[in-house]
């Protein structure tokens, strides 16, 4: 009996560690990364970026990688690129404080200051709450709570003392609810992530009312501003800025964060 449990736990842990580390990274990529760190420290930002690009070309990425690229571009005063990579890092690690801080530095270089449209209501509060933590956090919480919940249920099942039984049962119920809620949070968070299609403006762009050159200029956006892409038509994209204004601009004037 105990033997089975041990085997089960061992297998489970193996799976979990596989998922967390999943580090199929090769020696090459790590050496590139370290070389880039050295280059950055010697203020050779272009070289550092070349190394990072190589890693990306090989098909690997990480939040740290994007964060470092954002830093290197910031040091070269390339606002658009810098903000683009910080935002990419945040897509993977939405709560990384270092990324948020350096993104704040980069955002100060932008020309546009667009007020954020205030959205109130329960839905908004919930969204804010769930986006405080990353998807990874929610998934780990779901798994952890589920595991503990199951153990407390088994404890309830085995225990003879009614007091112990009561504690075990309520604990298991609580943990199972937490697990299901975490999963739901994660689900909605992923939903909201997959719904929006953010992009960063790379050059000064006139935002027009129509997807052609005859359109009346609605407003102008400058490098580094984050927009949401709503739809696209030929070489034009319809974007929305954070205060809710919408318009069309040329595809080449922005770069999508999700590819």
């Amino acid at each position: 009996m105990k033997k089975y449990m041990k085997i089960f736990l061992l297998l489970w842990c193996l799976g979990a560690s596989l998922s967390l580390i999943a580090a199929s990274q090769t020696e090459d990529e790590i050496s590139f990364f370290n070389a880039a760190t050295r280059a950055y420290n010697e203020a050779n930002y272009k070289l550092a970026i070349d190394y990072y690009e190589k890693i990306l070309e090989d098909g690997y990425h990480s939040a740290s990688l994007y964060y470092n690229m954002g830093n290197a571009y910031y040091k070269q005063n390339k606002i658009g690129q810098s903000i683009y990579y910080f935002e990419k890092a945040l897509l993977l690690e939405p709560t990384d404080t270092e990324v948020l801080k350096n993104l704040g530095f980069a955002q100060k270089m932008t020309i546009d200051a667009i007020p954020t449209k205030e959205e109130n209501g329960l839905g908004r509060t919930y969204e804010q709450f769930i986006s405080q933590y990353s998807l990874h956090f929610w998934s780990l919480l779901a798994i952890g709570a589920m595991l503990l919940g199951v153990f407390s249920y088994l404890f309830y099942y085995i225990a003879r003392d009614p007091k112990q039984k009561r504690v075990g049962f309520s604990l298991s119920l609580l943990l199972l609810i937490v697990s299901v809620l975490s999963y739901t949070n994660g689900f909605f968070l992923e939903e909201s992530h997959s719904e929006d299609n953010p992009a960063i403006i790379f050059e000064t762009a006139k935002v027009l009312s129509e997807p052609n050159n005859l359109g009346i200029q609605a407003f102008e956006l400058h490098e580094g501003t984050k927009v949401q892409v709503l739809e696209s038509f030929e070489s034009w994209m319809k974007v929305e800025i954070s205060d809710g204004q919408r318009g069309w601009l040329k595809e080449k004037q922005l770069k999508l964060l999700k590819d």
């Binding site: 580090a23 199929s24 690997y60 910031y74 704040g104 100060k108 270089m109 998934s139 199951v150 992923e190």
Partner: protein, 600 residues
């Protein structure tokens, strides 16, 4: 007029002398009476002389009506006699000078005269009056001379400029060689509608030699104007009108033979000029074009590039060069929203001379950064049209980075709130780590880009839901193991309860009474054995039971406790048994029966 009288006077003197020498000739000739016109075609500004000539003196001369003409002078008479080789000739002439009243074809009618009692008539003649012609020099008055030798000319440097391309207009007064200008006064100053204009003051009037219509002539520059057309199409420059006082030489001479001069006033005007202004080409017009035409340079400078927060710096956008500097707007500086920027101060240092506007204009922005960080002054573009090259030229400034090294940090409002919260708790904590731009991360765990987020991976679902399977699995395993090991405690308790309910219910009820209890207990035990082993009540003694049990390989402990129970039952009838002992025996009975039951 004086000329004519003069010549007649000399003629008269000559005739008189001839008459005195030759005297009268009696030879008769045929009478002739003719009209002679000095010319038959004339300009309206001209005059003609009409002579009526006869070769015999007559009476009652009757001139024609000269319709369409005005008699300027006349009639004047001239008579002449001459003897040539004994032949006497006579002629008498009536002269009129007439000027036409209007243009057209006119007929000068017949004149009549009576000679020797006969009436003679002249033949009518036609005269054509045409447009004014240049006056024959012999008729020139001082005004005419002034007219001919004073000319005001507006010289336009470019008849066909681009919009906003500079045009200069120079007003020159040409003065003929033999008259002199003593004074002039502008009657009407030109207006320059649809032009930006600036007068270049002429401080000294000096005569320079030049030529007017091929004739050598002196000129003086009266006025210089620089114009920048502000509208395309045909634009007109209203004329300049001057009143000039000039001295004109006359034919008269003074006692010493020097010419006498007549003074005259003359109004001269430079004709109305039109300029055809070309619009700037639409093709290739850059977006940043704001109307500058000429040749320019763009500079963007900042007074500092490293400073502390709340210090001020100046960013200056300058355009230098030549062209319509005062007529276009400078490109605007677009600065990060995080900077505090004041309205720019406009400066211009532009001089306008004959070659146009030259100099520089600048916008001076005062900037005060409030927070630490790097701020770009982005590049700005400025474009102008070069009329010489006939194309647009775009200039772009270089971006400047301002580095604010000391000062409070504010990334966005969220962190500000966080900071203030933290600050109230622990001020030390955020001094260093929060203020600087973070260094890169030195470690990473790279993953395949294609790897889906863990949340939506299969592994997540497996890890999440697998523990649920653990519940039925463990329950099943526990059950199985219990059955295998024959869980004593569990199984016995269940069986014991069943047996007790069957055989010991009477004893249980009688627990209060010692004797009843033991009787019931003994009876229950007997019933059990009877049911289980088919032992008759007659054979119910200790030895017998032991034998039967041993035959069935019941273990010794169980046999012992069963025997002990039976002994208790017997002993209890005679001896004192407490309630505690009764309870213990009851429990023992349940235990023993269930032990036996599992072995039988």
């Amino acid at each position: 007029m004086s000329l004519i009288t003069k010549s007649y006077m000399s003629l008269f003197i000559a005739l008189a002398s001839v008459w005195a020498l030759r005297g009268y000739t009696p030879v008769q000739e045929a009478v002739s009476f003719k009209m002679i016109l000095s010319k038959s075609a004339m300009g309206i500004n001209e005059r003609i002389r009409v002579d009526f000539v006869m070769n015999k003196d007559g009476d009652n001369f009757n001139p024609p009506s000269f319709q369409g003409f005005r008699v300027v002078m006349g009639p004047s008479q001239a008579t002449s006699f001459s003897w040539v080789n004994g032949v006497k000739s006579f002629s008498k002439t009536f002269s009129y000078t007439i000027a036409p009243l209007e243009k057209g074809a006119f007929t000068i009618g017949q004149a009549t005269i009576d000679i020797d009692g006969n009436s003679y008539k002249t033949i009518p003649e036609k005269v054509t009056v045409t447009d004014a012609v240049k006056k024959p020099s012999e008729d020139m008055t001082a005004e005419d001379v002034a007219n001919e030798s004073l000319h005001l000319v507006a010289e336009v440097s470019n008849q066909n400029p681009y919009l906003n391309e500079m045009v200069t207009v120079v007003y020159k007064l040409y003065v003929g060689p033999d008259i002199s200008v003593t004074n002039f006064r502008a009657l009407d100053n030109p207006t320059y509608n649809n032009f930006w204009n600036q007068d270049i003051a002429v401080t000294k009037y000096t005569f320079e030699s030049g030529s007017y219509e091929g004739k050598a002539s002196q000129y003086v520059v009266l006025k210089r104007v620089v114009l920048y057309p502000q509208k395309s199409g045909e634009l007109s420059i209203e004329p300049l009108v001057l009143d000039v006082t000039a001295e004109v030489p006359t034919n008269r001479r003074d006692f010493f033979g020097g010419r006498l001069f007549a003074q005259t006033n003359k109004t001269v005007t430079a004709g109305k000029r039109t300029i055809q202004v070309k619009a700037l080409p639409e093709s290739g017009k850059p977006e940043s074009f704001s109307g500058a035409v000429g040749s320019f340079d763009l500079f963007v400078t900042s007074s500092k590039d490293i400073l502390n927060a709340n210090e001020s710096l100046q960013a200056i956008v300058t355009v230098t060069g030549s062209g319509n500097l005062k007529l276009f707007t400078l490109p605007e500086l677009k600065l990060p929203a995080a900077l505090e920027v004041y309205e720019p101060e406009f400066n211009e240092a532009v001089t306008t001379n004959q070659s146009g506007m030259k100099g520089k204009i600048s916008n001076n922005y005062t900037i005060i950064p409030a927070f630490k960080g790097k701020y770009p002054i982005p590049e700005i573009s400025f474009s102008y049209f070069d009329p010489n090259l006939e194309k647009y030229i775009s200039l772009q400034s270089k971006p400047i980075i301002i580095n604010v090294i000391e000062g409070p940090l504010q990334t966005n409002e969220k962190t500000k709130e966080e900071n203030s919260e933290k600050a109230s708790v622990n001020k030390q904590a955020l001094t260093v780590s929060q203020q600087a731009f973070g260094f890169i991360k030195t470690n990473t765990s790279l993953v395949k880009k294609t790897q889906k987020p863990f949340f939506s991976s299969l592994l997540f679902y497996v890890l999440w839901l697998l523990p649920l399977l653990l519940i039925p699995l463990v329950v099943f395993l526990i059950k199985k193991q219990r059955e295998k090991q024959g869980d004593l405690v569990g199984l016995l308790s269940k069986r014991a309860q069943r047996l007790a309910a069957k055989f010991l219910s009477e004893a249980k009820q009688a627990r209060g009474n010692k004797e009843d209890f033991y009787v019931a207990l003994e009876k229950g035990l007997q019933l059990y054995l009877k049911g289980k082993l088919q032992i008759e009540t007659a054979d119910f003694n200790k030895e017998n039971i032991t034998l039967v049990f041993e035959a069935r390989k019941v273990n010794q402990d169980s046999i012992q406790s069963f025997i002990l129970l039976l002994e208790h039952c017997e002993a209890a009838r005679y001896g004192p048994f407490t309630a505690v002992e009764i309870a213990a025996d009851y429990q023992d009975a349940i235990k023993t029966i269930s032990e036996l039951d599992s072995q039988l």
